[in-house]
Amino acid sequence: MPISWRPYVAGALTGLLAIASVLVSTQVLGKAKYLGASTTFVRSAGLIEQSVAPEHVTANEYYQSKKVRVDWQFMLLVGILVGSFAASRLDGSFKAEGSPPIWRDRFGRGVGVRAIGAFLGGIVAMFGARLAGGCPSGHGLSGLMQLSVSGFIAMAGFFGAGIVVAHLLYGRTRGGEVGHE
Protein backbone atom coordinates (compact mmCIF):
# COMPACT_ATOMS: atom_id res chain seq x y z
CA MET A 1 0.00 0.00 0.00
CA PRO A 2 1.45 3.40 -0.95
CA ILE A 3 1.89 6.01 1.77
CA SER A 4 -1.18 8.18 2.24
CA TRP A 5 0.06 11.75 2.50
CA ARG A 6 -3.41 13.02 3.38
CA PRO A 7 -3.03 13.38 7.20
CA TYR A 8 0.50 14.81 6.86
CA VAL A 9 -0.52 17.46 4.31
CA ALA A 10 -3.72 18.44 6.14
CA GLY A 11 -1.75 18.51 9.41
CA ALA A 12 1.09 20.66 8.03
CA LEU A 13 -1.49 23.09 6.59
CA THR A 14 -3.14 23.21 10.04
CA GLY A 15 0.26 24.17 11.44
CA LEU A 16 0.41 27.04 8.93
CA LEU A 17 -3.16 28.00 9.92
CA ALA A 18 -2.11 28.12 13.60
CA ILE A 19 0.81 30.43 12.70
CA ALA A 20 -1.40 32.63 10.50
CA SER A 21 -4.03 32.77 13.25
CA VAL A 22 -1.68 34.12 15.96
CA LEU A 23 -0.11 36.55 13.49
CA VAL A 24 -3.35 37.95 12.03
CA SER A 25 -5.23 38.05 15.36
CA THR A 26 -2.31 39.94 16.92
CA GLN A 27 -2.41 42.49 14.07
CA VAL A 28 -6.21 42.81 13.85
CA LEU A 29 -7.37 42.26 17.45
CA GLY A 30 -4.23 43.11 19.38
CA LYS A 31 -4.30 39.66 21.02
CA ALA A 32 -2.90 36.37 19.73
CA LYS A 33 -5.59 33.71 19.25
CA TYR A 34 -4.46 30.11 19.60
CA LEU A 35 -6.51 27.13 18.38
CA GLY A 36 -8.69 25.52 21.06
CA ALA A 37 -12.20 24.15 21.44
CA SER A 38 -13.30 23.03 24.90
CA THR A 39 -13.84 26.44 26.56
CA THR A 40 -16.61 27.04 24.01
CA PHE A 41 -18.60 24.19 25.60
CA VAL A 42 -18.40 26.06 28.92
CA ARG A 43 -19.62 29.29 27.31
CA SER A 44 -22.37 27.42 25.41
CA ALA A 45 -23.57 25.66 28.57
CA GLY A 46 -23.52 29.05 30.30
CA LEU A 47 -25.53 30.67 27.51
CA ILE A 48 -28.15 27.90 27.72
CA GLU A 49 -28.37 28.15 31.54
CA GLN A 50 -28.52 31.94 31.27
CA SER A 51 -31.76 31.69 29.28
CA VAL A 52 -33.51 29.92 32.18
CA ALA A 53 -31.59 31.03 35.29
CA PRO A 54 -29.52 34.17 34.58
CA GLU A 55 -28.77 34.91 38.23
CA HIS A 56 -27.33 31.39 38.67
CA VAL A 57 -24.80 32.03 35.88
CA THR A 58 -23.90 35.46 37.27
CA ALA A 59 -23.22 33.87 40.66
CA ASN A 60 -21.09 31.05 39.26
CA GLU A 61 -17.36 31.67 39.68
CA TYR A 62 -16.29 29.47 36.75
CA TYR A 63 -18.74 30.97 34.25
CA GLN A 64 -17.67 34.45 35.31
CA SER A 65 -13.98 33.61 34.87
CA LYS A 66 -14.62 32.30 31.32
CA LYS A 67 -17.03 35.12 30.36
CA VAL A 68 -20.22 33.64 28.92
CA ARG A 69 -20.45 35.15 25.44
CA VAL A 70 -20.05 34.39 21.74
CA ASP A 71 -16.33 35.02 21.29
CA TRP A 72 -13.56 34.19 18.78
CA GLN A 73 -13.35 30.51 19.79
CA PHE A 74 -17.13 30.08 19.75
CA MET A 75 -17.15 31.27 16.13
CA LEU A 76 -14.13 29.03 15.42
CA LEU A 77 -16.35 26.04 16.27
CA VAL A 78 -19.19 27.40 14.12
CA GLY A 79 -16.56 27.68 11.37
CA ILE A 80 -15.48 24.04 11.86
CA LEU A 81 -19.13 23.07 11.29
CA VAL A 82 -19.25 25.09 8.05
CA GLY A 83 -15.79 24.03 6.81
CA SER A 84 -16.26 20.32 7.49
CA PHE A 85 -19.71 20.33 5.89
CA ALA A 86 -18.49 22.15 2.77
CA ALA A 87 -15.38 19.95 2.39
CA SER A 88 -17.35 16.71 2.82
CA ARG A 89 -19.98 17.78 0.28
CA LEU A 90 -17.32 18.87 -2.22
CA ASP A 91 -15.43 15.55 -2.22
CA GLY A 92 -18.49 13.36 -1.69
CA SER A 93 -17.37 11.97 1.68
CA PHE A 94 -20.46 13.31 3.50
CA LYS A 95 -22.34 10.28 4.84
CA ALA A 96 -25.31 10.04 7.20
CA GLU A 97 -24.32 7.62 9.97
CA GLY A 98 -26.20 6.80 13.19
CA SER A 99 -23.59 4.44 14.63
CA PRO A 100 -19.93 3.89 13.63
CA PRO A 101 -18.85 0.41 12.35
CA ILE A 102 -16.40 -0.33 15.23
CA TRP A 103 -19.17 0.45 17.73
CA ARG A 104 -21.71 -1.70 15.82
CA ASP A 105 -19.32 -4.69 15.82
CA ARG A 106 -19.17 -4.55 19.60
CA PHE A 107 -22.53 -3.20 20.76
CA GLY A 108 -24.91 -3.94 17.88
CA ARG A 109 -26.76 -1.68 15.49
CA GLY A 110 -29.01 0.05 18.02
CA VAL A 111 -28.76 3.83 17.87
CA GLY A 112 -30.06 4.08 21.46
CA VAL A 113 -27.03 2.30 22.92
CA ARG A 114 -24.71 4.45 20.80
CA ALA A 115 -26.56 7.59 21.94
CA ILE A 116 -26.16 6.68 25.62
CA GLY A 117 -22.47 5.79 25.17
CA ALA A 118 -21.68 8.97 23.27
CA PHE A 119 -23.61 11.09 25.79
CA LEU A 120 -21.97 9.58 28.90
CA GLY A 121 -18.55 9.57 27.21
CA GLY A 122 -19.07 13.22 26.29
CA ILE A 123 -19.85 14.17 29.90
CA VAL A 124 -16.70 12.48 31.27
CA ALA A 125 -14.50 13.76 28.42
CA MET A 126 -15.55 17.39 28.84
CA PHE A 127 -15.33 17.29 32.64
CA GLY A 128 -11.80 15.95 32.21
CA ALA A 129 -10.88 18.49 29.55
CA ARG A 130 -12.00 21.39 31.73
CA LEU A 131 -10.15 20.00 34.76
CA ALA A 132 -7.03 19.48 32.61
CA GLY A 133 -7.45 23.02 31.25
CA GLY A 134 -7.82 22.02 27.60
CA CYS A 135 -8.51 19.37 24.96
CA PRO A 136 -6.44 17.87 22.10
CA SER A 137 -6.70 21.26 20.31
CA GLY A 138 -5.76 23.59 23.17
CA HIS A 139 -3.34 21.31 25.05
CA GLY A 140 -2.40 19.06 22.12
CA LEU A 141 -1.88 21.43 19.20
CA SER A 142 -1.41 24.86 20.80
CA GLY A 143 0.25 23.51 23.96
CA LEU A 144 2.81 21.28 22.25
CA MET A 145 3.56 23.96 19.61
CA GLN A 146 4.61 26.18 22.53
CA LEU A 147 6.41 23.37 24.39
CA SER A 148 4.23 23.89 27.49
CA VAL A 149 4.72 21.31 30.22
CA SER A 150 0.93 21.19 30.83
CA GLY A 151 0.43 20.10 27.19
CA PHE A 152 2.81 17.14 27.49
CA ILE A 153 1.21 15.97 30.79
CA ALA A 154 -2.35 16.33 29.47
CA MET A 155 -1.56 14.53 26.18
CA ALA A 156 0.02 11.65 28.13
CA GLY A 157 -3.21 11.43 30.16
CA PHE A 158 -5.48 11.65 27.07
CA PHE A 159 -3.73 8.84 25.23
CA GLY A 160 -2.77 6.80 28.31
CA ALA A 161 -6.36 6.39 29.49
CA GLY A 162 -7.73 6.38 25.92
CA ILE A 163 -5.54 3.43 24.89
CA VAL A 164 -6.50 1.34 27.94
CA VAL A 165 -10.26 2.03 27.73
CA ALA A 166 -10.41 1.62 23.93
CA HIS A 167 -8.75 -1.80 24.21
CA LEU A 168 -11.18 -2.83 26.98
CA LEU A 169 -14.18 -1.61 24.95
CA TYR A 170 -13.34 -2.51 21.35
CA GLY A 171 -10.23 -4.69 21.60
CA ARG A 172 -12.05 -7.96 21.06
CA THR A 173 -13.87 -6.95 17.88
CA ARG A 174 -12.53 -8.69 14.77
CA GLY A 175 -9.23 -6.84 14.55
CA GLY A 176 -11.12 -3.59 14.83
CA GLU A 177 -11.21 -3.42 11.00
CA VAL A 178 -9.91 0.11 10.89
CA GLY A 179 -9.82 1.15 7.27
CA HIS A 180 -7.04 3.24 5.79
CA GLU A 181 -7.69 6.01 3.32
Binding site: M1, S38, A125
Partner: protein, 175 residues
Protein backbone atom coordinates in the same frame (compact mmCIF):
# COMPACT_ATOMS: atom_id res chain seq x y z
CA UNK B 1 -12.72 42.93 11.36
CA UNK B 2 -14.41 41.72 14.55
CA UNK B 3 -13.05 38.81 16.59
CA UNK B 4 -16.20 36.84 15.67
CA UNK B 5 -15.64 37.18 11.90
CA UNK B 6 -11.96 36.30 12.27
CA UNK B 7 -12.88 33.27 14.40
CA UNK B 8 -15.44 32.12 11.83
CA UNK B 9 -12.99 32.41 8.91
CA UNK B 10 -10.23 30.60 10.85
CA UNK B 11 -12.73 27.90 11.82
CA UNK B 12 -13.91 27.30 8.25
CA UNK B 13 -10.32 26.56 7.16
CA UNK B 14 -9.68 24.48 10.34
CA UNK B 15 -12.89 22.47 9.76
CA UNK B 16 -12.04 21.79 6.11
CA UNK B 17 -8.52 20.62 7.09
CA UNK B 18 -9.81 18.40 9.93
CA UNK B 19 -12.31 16.85 7.53
CA UNK B 20 -9.81 16.43 4.69
CA UNK B 21 -7.27 14.92 7.10
CA UNK B 22 -10.10 12.46 7.97
CA UNK B 23 -9.42 13.07 11.67
CA UNK B 24 -13.06 13.87 12.47
CA UNK B 25 -13.96 10.18 12.06
CA UNK B 26 -14.80 7.94 15.04
CA UNK B 27 -12.74 5.20 13.28
CA UNK B 28 -9.62 7.37 13.24
CA UNK B 29 -9.96 8.53 16.85
CA UNK B 30 -10.58 5.04 18.23
CA UNK B 31 -8.14 3.56 15.68
CA UNK B 32 -5.32 5.59 17.25
CA UNK B 33 -6.32 4.47 20.76
CA UNK B 34 -6.33 0.85 19.55
CA UNK B 35 -2.84 1.50 18.08
CA UNK B 36 -4.09 0.35 14.67
CA UNK B 37 -4.41 3.57 12.66
CA UNK B 38 -2.23 6.56 13.51
CA UNK B 39 -3.99 9.07 11.22
CA UNK B 40 -4.80 11.51 14.01
CA UNK B 41 -1.24 11.41 15.39
CA UNK B 42 0.19 11.99 11.89
CA UNK B 43 -2.14 14.98 11.55
CA UNK B 44 -1.46 16.41 15.03
CA UNK B 45 2.31 15.95 14.98
CA UNK B 46 2.56 17.41 11.43
CA UNK B 47 0.65 20.48 12.63
CA UNK B 48 2.83 20.66 15.75
CA UNK B 49 6.13 20.41 13.79
CA UNK B 50 5.15 23.29 11.51
CA UNK B 51 3.43 25.39 14.18
CA UNK B 52 6.20 24.86 16.76
CA UNK B 53 8.86 26.29 14.44
CA UNK B 54 6.70 29.18 13.17
CA UNK B 55 5.22 30.28 16.49
CA UNK B 56 8.51 30.10 18.40
CA UNK B 57 10.09 32.19 15.64
CA UNK B 58 7.32 34.82 15.91
CA UNK B 59 7.62 34.84 19.73
CA UNK B 60 11.43 35.16 19.48
CA UNK B 61 11.01 38.15 17.14
CA UNK B 62 8.51 39.71 19.59
CA UNK B 63 5.84 39.74 16.89
CA UNK B 64 3.30 37.69 18.88
CA UNK B 65 2.77 36.95 22.57
CA UNK B 66 2.81 33.33 23.75
CA UNK B 67 -0.20 31.84 25.55
CA UNK B 68 0.99 28.99 27.74
CA UNK B 69 -1.53 27.11 29.89
CA UNK B 70 -0.64 26.75 33.58
CA UNK B 71 0.84 23.48 34.73
CA UNK B 72 -0.86 21.70 37.62
CA UNK B 73 0.24 18.09 37.71
CA UNK B 74 -2.94 17.14 39.62
CA UNK B 75 -5.36 18.86 37.24
CA UNK B 76 -3.48 18.14 33.99
CA UNK B 77 -2.98 14.46 34.81
CA UNK B 78 -6.29 13.57 36.50
CA UNK B 79 -8.25 15.71 34.02
CA UNK B 80 -6.24 14.24 31.15
CA UNK B 81 -6.95 10.66 32.28
CA UNK B 82 -10.67 11.41 32.72
CA UNK B 83 -10.73 12.95 29.25
CA UNK B 84 -9.09 9.84 27.82
CA UNK B 85 -11.74 7.57 29.40
CA UNK B 86 -14.63 9.61 28.01
CA UNK B 87 -12.87 10.11 24.65
CA UNK B 88 -12.58 6.33 24.11
CA UNK B 89 -16.31 5.86 24.76
CA UNK B 90 -17.57 8.91 22.84
CA UNK B 91 -15.04 8.51 20.02
CA UNK B 92 -14.72 12.25 19.58
CA UNK B 93 -12.85 15.12 21.14
CA UNK B 94 -14.53 18.55 21.43
CA UNK B 95 -13.29 20.00 18.12
CA UNK B 96 -13.81 16.84 16.07
CA UNK B 97 -17.30 16.20 17.47
CA UNK B 98 -18.52 19.32 15.71
CA UNK B 99 -16.67 18.42 12.48
CA UNK B 100 -18.06 14.86 12.56
CA UNK B 101 -21.63 16.11 12.91
CA UNK B 102 -21.08 18.37 9.89
CA UNK B 103 -19.95 15.47 7.65
CA UNK B 104 -23.13 13.54 8.43
CA UNK B 105 -22.08 11.42 11.42
CA UNK B 106 -25.13 12.58 13.35
CA UNK B 107 -24.55 10.35 16.38
CA UNK B 108 -21.86 12.93 17.28
CA UNK B 109 -24.74 15.14 18.42
CA UNK B 110 -25.12 12.89 21.50
CA UNK B 111 -21.43 13.37 22.33
CA UNK B 112 -21.84 17.15 21.92
CA UNK B 113 -24.88 17.13 24.25
CA UNK B 114 -22.87 15.14 26.80
CA UNK B 115 -19.98 17.59 26.54
CA UNK B 116 -22.31 20.52 27.27
CA UNK B 117 -23.61 18.70 30.36
CA UNK B 118 -20.04 17.85 31.39
CA UNK B 119 -19.05 21.53 31.12
CA UNK B 120 -22.08 22.57 33.20
CA UNK B 121 -21.26 20.00 35.92
CA UNK B 122 -17.65 21.20 35.99
CA UNK B 123 -18.79 24.82 36.44
CA UNK B 124 -20.75 23.75 39.54
CA UNK B 125 -17.94 21.83 41.24
CA UNK B 126 -15.09 24.14 40.16
CA UNK B 127 -14.70 25.95 43.54
CA UNK B 128 -14.10 22.63 45.33
CA UNK B 129 -11.66 21.44 42.65
CA UNK B 130 -9.76 24.71 42.62
CA UNK B 131 -9.00 24.31 46.31
CA UNK B 132 -7.91 20.68 45.90
CA UNK B 133 -6.88 18.92 42.64
CA UNK B 134 -5.89 22.10 40.80
CA UNK B 135 -3.51 23.13 43.59
CA UNK B 136 -1.64 19.79 43.55
CA UNK B 137 1.75 20.20 41.89
CA UNK B 138 0.98 23.68 40.62
CA UNK B 139 3.92 25.33 38.83
CA UNK B 140 2.34 28.13 36.78
CA UNK B 141 2.97 28.76 33.08
CA UNK B 142 6.10 26.70 32.54
CA UNK B 143 7.60 25.35 29.32
CA UNK B 144 9.89 22.39 28.71
CA UNK B 145 12.93 24.50 27.69
CA UNK B 146 12.29 26.77 30.70
CA UNK B 147 12.36 23.81 33.10
CA UNK B 148 15.47 22.38 31.46
CA UNK B 149 17.13 25.79 31.41
CA UNK B 150 17.94 25.60 27.71
CA UNK B 151 16.99 27.56 24.58
CA UNK B 152 13.68 26.53 22.93
CA UNK B 153 15.51 25.76 19.70
CA UNK B 154 17.51 22.91 21.21
CA UNK B 155 14.29 21.27 22.38
CA UNK B 156 12.58 21.98 19.05
CA UNK B 157 15.34 20.28 17.04
CA UNK B 158 15.18 17.17 19.25
CA UNK B 159 11.36 17.03 19.11
CA UNK B 160 11.26 17.48 15.31
CA UNK B 161 13.68 14.54 14.95
CA UNK B 162 11.59 12.47 17.42
CA UNK B 163 8.31 13.24 15.64
CA UNK B 164 9.81 12.45 12.20
CA UNK B 165 11.12 9.15 13.64
CA UNK B 166 7.56 8.36 14.78
CA UNK B 167 6.25 9.04 11.25
CA UNK B 168 8.85 6.62 9.89
CA UNK B 169 7.77 3.99 12.44
CA UNK B 170 4.06 4.47 11.62
CA UNK B 171 4.71 4.02 7.89
CA UNK B 172 7.00 1.00 8.35
CA UNK B 173 4.37 -0.67 10.52
CA UNK B 174 1.63 0.46 8.10
CA UNK B 175 -0.31 2.11 10.91
Amino acid sequence: MSEQVLGLLTGIVFGALLQQGRVVRFEKQVGAMLLQDMTILKFMLSAIVVGMVGINLLVDLNVVAPSVKATSIGANLIGGLLFGIGWAVAGYCPGTSVGALAEGRWHAVFAIAGMLVGAAIFAEVYPALKASVVSWGSFGKITLPGVLGVTPWGVIVILVIAYLALFRLFERKRL
